[in-house]
């Protein structure tokens, strides 16, 4: 840390800043200083870590009965209006727009609509009238929540899941992972850290995620940002994931950054 008097001042108030208890004006001055002082930023970052660790020492609590159900229902209610609006966006792009990032991705909305349609068929079969009264989409999701919380775990079950390690296009060790769940809704999650051997200068920019069939043809799933080689992304996928054998990440100019061979893993639940 330099001898800049402002740095000395920040030494005095850094702890309060990191704990979030510094009054407004002092906080504004401190933040302005952090914008131009990397040493002080690091100092406060370490103090912030202390604050986080302190909170981490607090004891766990016992949730009230039905808490997880109530919360899941609340999330379902919030998801329902988004479903009803039926926004149409390019796949995988919706949540990249900062104005939309507090909402679920457009693909997910489509997935919810699809689920709602499937649930509607089931609804006809059981002749449940409540759907009209409470709003269909919310009901569909709420029902799913009930099933999840109420259904006893099966004694023995198998479920396919696709997994793969991302490796750099130039070869080398794993730089990320892909999880793909072919169920309904199908969704996938990609995590990369393109910073190791075999990678060029850490990439910063938009990355396109493609799924690859056995014959080499691809389907674009969506885009996500990568900064300094690091990125993570998840999205619903309107496709039969079991038909794909690989995943590929490309830069905005089409350069392949990393690829993954998708392997079908099997979840086997031993009988107890």
């Amino acid at each position: 840390m330099s001898s800049d008097p402002t740095c000395d001042k920040l030494r005095e108030i850094g702890a309060e800043l990191a704990l979030g208890v510094l009054p407004g004006r002092e906080r504004a001055e401190a933040v302005a200083h952090l914008d131009r002082c990397a040493d002080c930023r690091e100092h406060v970052r370490q103090l912030t870590l202390v604050g986080d660790r302190l909170i981490g020492l607090l004891p766990d609590g016992e949730p009230p009965p039905g808490f997880e159900n109530r919360v899941a229902r609340s999330l379902a209610r919030q998801a329902a209006p988004a479903t009803g609006r039926g926004r149409s966006r390019a796949p995988g792009r919706a949540h990249r727009d900062p104005r939309d990032r507090d909402r679920a991705p457009g693909r997910a909305h489509q997935g919810l609509r699809d689920r709602a349609r499937r649930a509607r068929l089931r609804l006809a079969a059981v002749a449940t009238a409540a759907v009209v009264a409470v709003g269909f989409a919310g009901w569909a999701i709420g029902t799913a929540v009930e099933e999840v919380t109420a259904a006893p775990p099966p004694a023995v079950e198998t479920e396919p899941v696709l997994v793969g390690d991302m490796v750099p296009a130039g070869g080398g060790g794993a730089v990320g992972e892909v999880y793909a769940h072919p169920g309904s809704p199908a969704w996938m999650f990609v995590s990369v850290a393109l910073t190791g051997p075999g990678t060029a200068i850490p990439y910063t920019g938009t990355v396109t995620c493609l799924l690859e069939r056995g014959d080499g043809t691809t389907v674009r799933v969506g885009d996500f940002p990568v900064r300094d080689g690091h990125g993570r992304w998840g999205a619903g996928v309107d496709a039969d994931l079991t038909r794909f054998s690989g995943a590929r990440l490309t830069s905005s100019d089409g350069t392949v950054l990393a690829t993954a061979r998708l392997k079908q893993a099997q979840v086997l639940t031993p009988e107890e």
């Binding site: 005095e12 850094g14 702890a15 309060e16 990191a18 704990l19 979030g20 208890v21 009054p23 370490q46 202390v50 660790r53 302190l54 909170i55 981490g56 020492l57 607090l58 004891p59 766990d60 609590g61 016992e62 949730p63 009230p64 808490f67 997880e68 159900n69 919360v71 899941a72 609340s74 999330l75 379902a76 479903t83 990032r101 679920a104 991705p105 997910a108 997935g111 499937r118 649930a119 799913a144 929540v145 099933e147 999840v148 259904a151 099966p154 004694a155 479920e159 390690d165 999880y179 769940h181 169920g183 993570r232 998840g234 999205a235 619903g236 392997k263 099997q266 979840v267 639940t269 107890e272």
Partner: protein, 218 residues
């Protein structure tokens, strides 16, 4: 068990029966053992099964933080619910380089709890609550030490702080009290309150930065 095919070389990842759930369409989702980040990403897609599993995984931690700060079961539940709603809304902006999902969630819960208490009470905490909580967070039973050595060292370091510094740190760090509020509560000058907070944080920082040297912090 989950077997990752030939690439795994026979390696199996344990998979509990309760980690497999029935979904809307009748298919089953082996999501219970997904990494926290993957689960958060799945949550952002609006999947209701993932929402339940996400809440189930983190609810004890979130409730614990909310309860410690608010000391009010109803308010703590409200805060915890808001925490999960906020996590759901902002799942896309979570940055793993800035901390784990657990840390991110507990930070949200803590901020909401402090704000909720500020909005409802003039006194952020009762003195007896502070002493009780300080006793809990400085407790270092062997089971905790074995489970998480770093946290055990942090608890021990907190226990070794001069009592007045530990109190000031808890007031600011847990209850979100400003130095002025700490000064009023302890009936000391504001400058003294600031000094106590700063000194305590400096000692704890030394432990966090070099956990193995934690025993030598003065």
């Amino acid at each position: 068990m989950i077997f990752r095919g030939e690439r795994s070389g026979g390696r199996a990842i344990p998979w509990r029966p309760s980690d497999v759930y029935r979904g809307v369409s009748g298919s089953r989702f082996p999501v219970g053992r997904l990494p926290d980040e993957a689960l958060l990403s799945g949550l952002a897609t609006g999947d209701p099964e993932l929402a339940v599993i996400f809440v189930r995984r983190f609810q004890h931690r979130v409730i614990g933080v909310a309860m410690a700060v608010t000391r009010d079961p109803q308010l703590a539940e409200d805060v915890a619910q808001q925490t999960f709603e906020r996590a759901w809304r902002h799942a896309q902006i979570y940055d793993p380089r800035r901390g784990s999902v657990m840390t991110w969630l507990t930070t949200i819960a803590h901020n909401l709890a402090v704000d909720a208490v500020r909005a409802r009470r003039t006194e952020p905490m009762a003195p007896e609550d502070l002493e009780e909580l300080l006793g809990v967070v400085t407790e270092t039973p062997e089971r905790w030490a074995l489970a998480d050595e770093a946290s055990a060292q942090l608890r021990a370091a907190l226990a070794r702080l001069p009592r007045e510094q530990a109190r000031a740190l808890m007031m600011a760090g847990v209850y979100g009290m400003t130095a002025r509020q700490v000064a009023d509560a302890e009936r000391i000058p504001v400058g003294t309150a600031k000094t106590r907070i700063r000194a305590a944080m400096a000692k704890m920082r030394a432990v966090v930065a070099s956990p193995k040297r934690g025993d030598h912090v003065q």
